[in-house]
Symmetry: C2
Subunit: 170 residues, 2 copies
DNA sequence: TATTGTTATACTCTATAACTATA
DNA sequence: TATAGTTATAGAGTATAACAATA
């Protein structure tokens, strides 16, 4: 489905013309005033994250992989048979959302669900051989991607930065 | 539309059982091994951003507003009649995506498009009176939201952190 | 009763391609 | 030809609610 939209009235919308609006010039010409935005932590964090995200999606796994998928595969590699509910906890996203990720990875043939013999509710996630081969390449791409950003910092700065970020998300 | 899925084969998928997989235990029991993930800049940046995002969406504008919408309104307030193509450049997202944002804001009655008299291709974005009233509240919510995270840092640390983030996204 | 996994549904963010009106 | 805006389409990310199987 395309973008949803409540109701059509757009162009000649019923919004009354605004009484206090400046009437002189109806264009914002010249340089744009960005106000306090550049000073906000959230604004800068968001933009930084978008920069990394874009670089990641263009370079890691030939654009076939997203950061969440990479993390999921690393976890499945290190913890064979990890429960989807554990992936959910580690990646901090809802278990219902994990299902979709694992579905797509299973369609690609990179992971496999296997019903646990111990607790038959669990559908453990395992990497396939092909998944392992891909992960090897993904790790390489990932490290190059990291490098492109970490090289902007001295080792001390990088340690500081990561410490700051942990303070935010912990 | 719900989540898309290529083909149904999920449960008994045709992926051959993996020869090199550890067969002993098919469950990952005990603590989860997260490997290098916690050391990665991208991983930490992503999680920090998600923390802020969640706090923002729950607290600013009673959950009716996203960071992008807030930024857009600030820009429209400071630059009455700003062109959508300029919003696109400032917010670093495609102009086609801006249209949808402005659509929803216009539906809410917070902004208004007005055809420029100077360049009739331009549909300048203006805040309405109601939009301005909302923005006043949004700014307050926004500053409280920021405070909840900036108070984790000393002024010096915060300056450092923002400097680091700018280095990444500039 | 509680947990694991799943489905259905819905909303947001974002992009690309192709188009219209205007310059 | 180039630019501003728009539409159609698509896919990713994420959430909530309700449910089945299992514990």
């Amino acid at each position: 489905m395309p973008r949803t939209r409540a109701t059509p009235p757009r162009r000649g919308a019923s919004v009354a013309r605004d009484s206090t609006a400046p009437e002189a010039s109806d264009d914002a010409a010249g340089p744009i005033d960005t106000g306090i935005l550049p000073e906000l932590l959230g604004f800068n964090l968001r933009r930084a994250q978008i920069s990394l995200w874009r670089d990641f999606t263009y370079t890691v796994g030939s654009g076939e992989v997203r950061p969440g998928v990479f993390s999921l595969m690393v976890l499945a590699d290190l913890n064979p048979g990890i429960a989807q509910v554990d992936l959910s906890a580690q990646l901090n996203i809802d278990k219902a959302s994990i299902v979709g990720l694992v579905d797509r990875l299973e369609d690609k043939g990179w992971v496999q669900r296997r019903r646990s013999t111990v607790d038959r509710r669990r559908q453990g996630v395992h990497l396939t051989d092909e998944g392992r081969r891909w992960l090897k390449q993904l790790r390489k791409d990932m490290l190059e991607h990291e490098k492109r950003f970490t090289r902007l910092f001295t080792p001390t700065e990088l340690r500081q930065l990561i410490g700051f970020l942990r303070r935010i998300h912990s």
